[in-house]
Every structure is written in structure tokens, then in C-alpha cells.
């Protein structure tokens, strides 16, 4: 199905299942522990042996020798493969550092050996007995601040609109500040894990935990130089991803090498302390934001320059992603610098770009509102735009940012907020309120599916994954709605490389893309059924196909009918800016003596097109808000600048938000309709909840204390000396 023009009315406007609160169809399996994750495939590979990895113990350099003799002779060991045993493997899609092979060490905990043994304990003990001799690389300057100062002002701007210098010279009010966001780790609950059967070095089966079946499938073929047809990839349950499982990683590669070497299926999970440095993370950023405003609050200039690090050839984190498009402004200059540093690999983490960019920009907006002596909600409303401000001929497909702010202010009781920074107290607690805008692009990708009608049952096959987002459920809803059947009639088969290629899960493109692909497949199935029955333009409702006087139950169609199709996105979408929008409101208490910050309540208002399932969508948004609290108050990858690795690489010292950190959360969906975006008029919402949540906390903290902290996370050591004297 080609999506070649904005959709007007269609069957989703009269929906009975789509848009209705629906419990997860995979829920009973998950709450009873019966959903099999990648390391638990006793159903498929009951005799898998245990793989255990060894990670490099230097920041960068090379290995001059490895002695694995003791490991090979250790009890229960069936195979040891070291990185010196094989040539560097080809890199898969978007892998920057190689995953295995050769003597070069590009980052700490890069995989350098795998041990296969009869038990987990034997494999782990043997891996510890591999002796490695390193030659450390030259010390590198890992000071991102200093690196930013060196490159600041250099290079062609990524976006340049109008005479920025004149705007800042002539503006009534100018703000100019530096902001810092730290490296962040996805920290999904299930570590990267795979079970691989490559016992005979021929066909390979990979039971893995990955967000993107097709990318993973292609990357395995590239990495090992074998035909994709010989590889099968399954990932039916994924214990969280947040971007960490977009690409092929060392777990699958080591399990495959171990399987071939030992001649048996092998399962391997990255030990938790190895996840942070072995896999990818969100780069720290340094950002300088200058804003220029007219006395009426309209922005005269926006100047955003940022830097992030990555290994050579990587992408870092583009903290300026939202700046060309989010707010109106007469002039604009935007530049992101990606700086090479020999550190563990940086790549996408939930809302890559916007998450860290808004952490700075939304504080800057708060600071300008204050400088203008203007309500920060009002200031943002004044600077709304219905066109791309850097390319004014391009309108937004559908944008209700102002309504997000207004509805949020009303629901939150913004009028009763504390209006003098540091001026409201509740016992020992300083009380503050903050707001931040949210923006995240609304990307869509091609996505395919197969729909099969078999004896009154509707089977959907697609390689789409469900990483906790609710794909099983919303796709089943889409299929049932399109075919006029009930949810109980639908059987979902997903996340298998034998099924049609979908968008996969990432970048909040999964829900809008994959449901559109399933809609396309179901429409193709409808056409086929109509053709088989010789019916003209039949309708499908209540389990029947109806045309004129003919009415037939779909369960009475005896022979199996199958149709496959994919959604393809037309060029017309290039004529629009597509995005999702929101507003976050937060109340915090900051302890007047200790500086401990507690979030007291949170509200998010979201404009993300049609909400396909308010239950799963709300869970996505509150989950993003929780991640935002962590980003604001505690998450911080601690870089050892001398040695080039992240020291707090476990779940005790990299602190994500826990139950006690999270207060009452409210979510309001505007439930708008974006006919430019998809046939279902839906956009993604999974990353929007994170975007803007952290700066809303930061702004509330400033409002509580009168102390502006521009360096995340906002831990007490950064401002306790500025708290009012006791």
C-alpha cells in the first residue's frame, strides 16, 4: 500500500477496538514468568551450553599476547575462542567498534574472548583464568568541555536562518549559558543475551533480545560472511531495549563463535557489570545556548551550539536536534560537533538528540522567561509556530503545542504555583514548580505484514518486536478493527525473520509504522476475500463480510486465505514537518538543609495523533517521565578520564529512579488526528514522555531554591553551599 496523500475519513474514525483501553494480550504470560526471553529458550535449545565473555581491561591499545591454556584445561570447558584466534569480523549495521577479532582494543570491556563450558560457573571461572598482555594506547584528552572550547564557532552551521549576529546585537534581552548533560546508560532490565545454534558452522539460528529483527539478521550475515537465507533470528520477548538493542552486539557474536567452536548450541548473557562499557550509551553533551528576545517575548534569535563524543565514524548525540524546528524565532544558528574520543561506543538511547537537547534548551527557555519577567507557559505559547521556522514554506502536519501547555496549566493548577524562586516552604522543604516543552520527531519507516484468515481465526505475521511497548496488543487491535473481527479472533506471530520485514522498534516509529503495515496487509486480505467470493466493495463487521444482500461469516470461509503487503510512505510527507508535542509540569520539594530533591507530582500532556491504546500509551509516557526523573536527579556515567572507562558500571552505582522516587503521575492525551502521518492518523508516543521531563524537574528545582543548576544530574553537591543559611 502506497501512502500517497493525507488520509481523510476511514474505518478508524468509527473504531470499536483501536483507541479503546485494552489490556496487553501478552500480559498473562509476562506476569506468570512463562514468556521465554532469549536466555531461556529451553523449548528450542534445551541442550545449550554456557558461554561467558571476557572484556578488555584497558581503555584502548592492543593485545600483545593471550594465554588461554589454563582456561582450556579448566574443568568443564568445551571451547575457548580469543580475539587473537580470528581476524577482525566485518562490522554490522551501525556498529562503530568491531564486535570481535584482531588485536586492537578500541574501548574498555570490548569483547576479547569467549569460553564455552558445561556449566555457567565453570565458564565464568575459566574466563577469569585467561591471561592477557596489553600495550596501552597513548593517553587521550577526554575533557569534553575543553574539546568544545577548541571547536566552538568552527565549521559550517547545520542550520543558519537570518542575520543572527544582528538579532543578538539589537535584542532587548539576551541570555547566554553553558549546559552539561552526562553520559547515560540504557540499563534495560534484561542484559543483552542470545542463544545461538551454529553447531555445524552451516545454518545458524539466533534466539536473541533485539529490537530490530531485519537489521540484526542482515548484520549477522555481514559479520560472519554467510548468506542471510541460512540465518534465522527470533526475538519474541525483549526485556527492555531503549536503543541498546537496536544493533547486533557481542552477546550474539560470541554465542555464535562459541557454538561453532564447541559444536553445540550456546547461550550467553552479558554480565551486568560488562553492559555499560561493552555496549553503547548516550554521549555526554556540552551545550551553549544563546537566546535573544524582543520586549513582547517573541524570540529574535536562537543560537545553539553543542558537542558530543564518539569513536571515529560514530554519531555521538545531537543535542541540537529539536532546535531548528521547535520554537518560532526570527533568526537561528545551530551547530553540533561530533568529537572523536577513544571511549565506549555512543549510539541511540531513547529519544536520541531531543532528550539531552531539551534538557538544556528548556532550562534556557525558563531563564529567558524569567529575564522577561514572563510566565514561562505564556512565553512558550508566544513562541509557538505552525511552520518549520527554519524553512517557513513547510507547515507542520498537525501541531497542538499551545493546547498542551494550556490544558496542562489548567489541570496542574499552574495559576497557584510558587512565583518567587525560593519563596515557598512546607516545613523543611522548599517547594517549587516547573514547566518544560516536549518535542520529538514523528518518523515512519516502511513496514510489512502477512494476514491469514484460517477457519475464523486471523493470524498476523510480521517481524515486528514488542520491547514492552505494547506492539502485540496494538497490532492485534489494528488487525481486528480492519477485519471487523474481535480481538480474541487474532493470533499474533511476531519477531521472527521468517515473517515479513517490519519497521522494528525504535525512535518511536514502531507503533505508527507497524500498525500501518498490518492495516495494509489486512486491506489486501479483504480484497482477496472479496475477490474469492465475487463481492463488490464489501464491508467487514462483526465477524462477517457483507455486500448487498450477501452476508457471510468469516468463520464459514473454509479454505485459508493469505495476503501480504507493506506500507510505503509517499514523497508528499516531505512537504510537511511531522512531530509530536507535549508539556511537562512538575512539583518538587528540595530539603532546605540537605538539598535532597523529591519530585512531588508530575503531569504530561501529549499531542501525538490518535492514541491507539490509551493503556499501553500511558505506560509508555509515565515510563518516559520516570526515566526523566533519573536523568534530572541521579543518572550519571562516571568517566575515569585518566583511563578512559566508565567506573560505575553496575546497577548499584549507576542510579536509575526507583519506586520511592516516583510520585503521583498524570497523563493527558489530546488524542489529535494526523492524517499526514499514517493511515491510522497516529504518531509515536514512546519517547515523547522522556523529552522535556528532566528540564521540568530542573526548572521546578530552581523555582524551589532560586539556585540555577545547569549541570545534570542535579545532585546536592552542586548547590548545597548555595542553599539558604540555616
Amino acid at each position: 500500500m502506497k501512502f500517497n496523500s493525507p488520509v481523510e475519513t476511514n474505518l478508524f474514525d468509527d473504531a470499536k477496538i483501536i483507541g479503546k483501553p485494552t489490556q496487553r494480550v501478552d500480559g498473562p504470560l509476562k506476569v506468570t514468568g512463562t514468556a521465554p526471553y532469549a536466555y531461556e529458550r529451553n523449548d528450542a535449545a534445551p541442550d545449550a551450553l554456557y558461554g561467558y565473555p571476557l572484556g578488555a581491561a584497558i581503555g584502548h591499545g592492543r593485545i600483545t599476547a593471550m594465554d588461554a591454556e589454563a582456561a582450556r584445561n579448566a574443568p568443564g570447558v568445551r571451547a575457548v575462542v580469543t580475539t587473537l584466534d580470528i581476524d577482525p569480523l566485518e562490522k554490522g549495521m551501525n556498529n562503530v567498534a568491531r564486535l570481535f577479532g584482531g588485536n586492537e582494543v578500541q574501548h574498555y570491556h570490548q569483547a576479547i574472548a569467549v569460553v564455552v563450558a558445561e556449566t555457567f560457573e565453570q565458564a565464568r571461572a575459566a574466563a577469569a583464568r585467561i591471561d592477557v598482555t596489553y600495550e596501552e594506547g597513548e593517553a587521550a584528552d577526554l575533557d569534553l568541555d575543553a574539546a568544545f572550547r577548541r571547536v566552538e564557532g568552527s565549521g559550517e552551521p547545520d542550520t543558519l536562518f537570518g542575520d543572527v549576529d544582528a538579532a543578538f546585537r539589537d535584542a532587548a534581552v539576551v541570555t547566554d549559558q553553558m549546559y552539561h548533560t552526562p553520559g547515560e546508560s540504557h540499563t534495560m532490565m534484561e542484559p543483552h543475551a542470545s542463544t545461538v545454534d551454529w553447531s555445524d558452522g552451516g545454518d545458524m539460528t539466533v534466539w536473541t533480545s533485539n529490537q530490530m529483527i531485519n537489521w540484526n539478521h542482515q548484520s549477522i550475515a555481514t559479520t560472519f560472511g554467510i548468506e542471510p537465507e541460512r540465518i534465522r533470528v527470533e526475538s519474541p520477548y525483549v526485556g527492555g531495549g531503549f536503543g541498546a538493542k537496536l544493533w547486533l552486539r557481542a552477546d550474539a557474536v560470541l554465542a555464535a563463535l562459541g557454538s561453532r567452536a564447541a559444536g553445540v548450541p550456546v547461550k550467553l548473557a552479558l554480565p551486568r557489570p560488562m553492559v555499560m562499557n561493552n555496549t553503547t550509551h548516550r554521549s555526554a553533551t556540552v551545550q551553549r545556548i544563546r537566546l535573544a528576545a524582543n520586549p513582547d517575548g517573541t524570540l529574535k534569535g536562537i543560537w545553539h551550539e553543542a558537542a558530543a563524543y564518539c569513536l571515529p565514524g560514530g554519531r555521538g548525540e545531537n543535542a541540537t536536534a529539536q532546535t531548528p524546528i521547535f520554537y518560532a524565532g526570527e533568526t537561528r544558528r545551530v551547530k553540533n560537533h561530533v568529537l572523536d574520543m577513544p571511549l565506549p561506543e555512543t549510539a541511540d538511547m531513547r529519544a536520541p538528540g531531543e532528550a539531552s537537547g531539551l534538557m538544556a534548551l528548556e532550562i534556557a527557555m525558563d531563564e529567558m522567561a524569567e529575564a522577561l519577567e514572563m510566565d514561562p507557559v505564556r512565553f512558550r505559547i508566544i513562541n509557538d509556530t505552525q511552520v518549520n521556522p527554519s524553512d517557513p514554506d513547510i507547515p507542520f502536519s498537525d501541531r497542538h503545542f499551545v493546547e498542551c501547555l494550556e490544558r496542562g496549566a489548567e489541570a496542574f493548577g499552574w495559576a497557584e504555583r510558587n512565583t518567587s524562586a525560593g519563596g515557598r516552604r512546607d516545613g523543611d522543604w522548599l517547594i517549587g514548580h516547573g514547566v518544560a516543552g516536549a518535542y520529538r520527531g514523528a518518523l515512519v519507516l516502511p513496514s510489512g505484514a502477512r494476514a491469514i484468515l484460517d477457519g475464523g481465526k486471523l493470524i498476523i505475521e510480521t517481524d515486528m518486536t514488542d520491547i514492552g511497548t505494547g506492539s502485540y496488543t496494538i497490532i492485534a487491535q489494528t488487525a481486528a478493527e480492519t477485519m471487523g473481527m474481535s480481538l480474541d479472533d487474532v493470533e499474533m506471530r511476531m519477531a521472527h525473520s521468517a515473517y515479513p520485514v517490519s519497521s522494528g522498534s525504535g525512535g518511536q516509529f514502531g507503533a505508527p509504522s507497524s500498525t500501518s503495515g498490518v492495516y495494509a496487509a489486512c486491506m489486501a486480505l479483504r480484497e482477496k476475500i472479496a475477490g474469492n467470493l465475487g463481492l463488490q466493495d464489501p464491508t467487514f463487521a462483526d465477524g462477517n463480510v457483507v455486500s448487498g444482500e450477501t452476508r457471510m461469516s468469516l468463520s464459514d470461509i473454509n479454505e485459508e486465505v493469505s495476503a501480504e503487503d507493506a506500507i510505503e510512505w509517499g514523497d508528499f510527507q516531505d512537504g510537511y514537518a511531522m512531530g509530536t508535542f507535549g508539556a511537562h509540569f512538575v512539583e518538587v520539594g528540595v530539603h532546605a538543609y540537605t538539598g535532597e530533591t523529591r519530585v512531588r507530582r508530575m503531569l504530561a500532556v501529549c499531542d501525538a495523533g490518535r492514541i491507539l491504546n490509551p493503556v499501553t500509551a500511558r505506560s509508555q509516557v509515565i515510563g518516559g517521565m520516570v526515566m526523566g526523573v533519573g536523568a534530572a536527579l541521579s543518572e550519571d556515567m562516571a568517566l575515569d578520564r585518566g583511563r578512559g572507562f566508565f567506573a560505575n558500571h553496575d546497577m548499584a552505582s549507576y542510579e536509575v529512579a526507583v519506586h520511592a522516587d516516583i510520585p503521583d503521575q498524570q497523563v493527558i492525551f489530546l488524542d489529535t488526528l494526523d492524517g499526514v502521518a499514517t493511515p491510522l492518523k497516529a504518531k509515536g508516543v514512546g519517547e515523547l514522555g522522556l523529552c522535556g521531563a528532566a528540564p521540568a524537574v530542573a526548572n521546578a528545582m530552581y523555582n524551589a531554591t532560586g539556585i540555577r543548576v545547569r549541570d545534570y544530574p542535579l545532585t546536592m553537591d552542586k548547590f548545597i553551599d548555595q542553599l539558604p543559611s540555616i
Partner: protein
């Protein structure tokens, strides 16, 4: 796992004794540790224990190093109890031993001969869910599902612990009956991390069950 970069023990910080000697040996990787002549363990390397799992005695012979978590997952194939960190930091492996919740990854199987272990599989099945499991589905108290069995194990025990008068960090009056407040539940659930951030919905599920059987 490799030792941290450039890690060398400062001997003056070590206490004298066999524990210190063992640490020095393994962490500094001196020459003797690198030879193929590995030190041999003293005594038996395996033990036979009987775990009473979900009411059924299960005799297993395990490597003495096997955690209770791996005994359940790898030896008894009860994979509902999850391994999130293997270091007692995340709570995904929470299960019940003799009526109390513990992190199964922090306990060795050989310490549990004769103990009553309850895992998520013993609580309910997809077509016969326990009220807490049903409440988690109803309130959408999870997303990816990986921390969920541990959350449910903790959730059931939190209600019992509050009713038994066991105080927590946020309990105000230690002599009064402890109220089933949001703050009490959140505090007691804080050993179970949910990176998908379903905390608010988990709280709703626990509150619902607590009210249903008040």
C-alpha cells in the same frame, strides 16, 4: 570479568589473614596464577540438596558455586525468576524462601537444603492467575515484563510485611499499627527496579489487592 584497569591492591589496606591472601592472589594475577597448574580445590565441589520448590521436594546435585537463582533457572528450568544483574542490585530475581522474600542471586543453592522456595510459577499460571498477577495485568503494572515476576513476589510480601507490623524507613510511629500508605508501599518496593518505569501502575495494582483482601 576482568579486574578493573590498573587495579593493584595496596597491601597496607589489607587485613592480614587467609581472606586477604586469597584476594591478592586472584586480583593481582601474579605469575603463579597464570600457569596452567591451577590450585586445586579442597573437598567436594558439588553438593546434593533438596529444595522444596512450590511445594514439591526437588533433589539436585549442584556445583557449590551455584546461586539459588541459577539452581532454579538452569537446574530446575524454572525461568520465571529473572537474572537482571546477578549482584543483588535490581530485584528481578526476588523469590520467597521460607516465607520471606530474598534476592535469589545473592544466596547459594547449597545454603537452602530443605528450604521452602516459592517462585512465580508456583503463584499462578496464565489461565489461573493469582490476584496480584491479575492486578498487574489489569493496572498495566509492567511493560517489557522482565522485572515483573520479582515485582509480583515483592508486592505480595510487602502487604504481608506491613500487616505484620514490620517497620520500614518511612514508618513514623513504630508503636502504632502501620498504615498501608503509598509511601510505605513505594519504600518497600524500592529494591525492585523497573526501567520501563511502571512504578505508578505497580502501586495501583498493590493497592487494589490490598483493598480487595483488607
Amino acid at each position: 570479568m576482568s579486574p578493573p584497569i590498573g587495579f593493584t591492591l595496596r597491601r597496607r589496606t589489607l587485613l592480614a589473614g587467609t581472606a586477604a591472601a586469597a584476594l591478592t592472589h586472584s586480583m593481582t594475577r601474579d605469575a603463579s596464577a597464570q600457569t596452567a597448574e591451577a590450585p586445586q580445590p579442597v573437598g567436594p565441589q558439588t553438593s546434593t540438596v533438596t529444595l522444596v520448590v512450590n511445594g514439591t521436594p526437588r533433589e539436585i546435585t549442584v556445583d557449590n558455586r551455584v546461586s539459588l537463582l541459577d539452581a532454579l533457572r538452569e537446574h530446575l528450568k524454572l525461568t520465571g525468576t529473572k537474572k537482571g544483574c546477578d549482584h543483588g542490585q535490581c530485584g528481578a530475581c526476588t523469590c520467597t524462601v521460607n516465607g520471606e522474600r530474598i534476592n535469589a542471586c545473592l544466596s547459594l543453592a547449597v545454603m537452602h537444603d530443605g528450604d521452602e522456595i516459592e517462585t512465580i510459577e508456583g503463584i499462578g499460571q496464565p489461565d489461573n492467575m493469582d490476584p496480584m498477577q491479575a492486578a498487574f495485568v489489569e493496572q498495566d503494572g509492567f511493560q517489557c515484563g522482565y522485572c515483573t515476576p520479582g515485582q509480583i513476589q515483592s508486592a505480595r510480601k510487602v502487604i504481608e510485611e506491613i500487616r505484620a507490623g514490620i517497620p520500614s524507613h518511612v514508618t513514623g510511629d513504630l508503636t502504632a499499627e502501620i498504615a498501608m500508605t503509598d509511601a510505605e508501599i513505594r519504600e518497600r518496593m524500592s529494591g525492585n527496579i523497573c526501567r520501563c518505569g511502571a512504578y505508578a501502575n505497580i502501586l495501583s495494582a498493590i493497592t487494589q489487592v490490598a483493598e480487595e483482601n483488607a
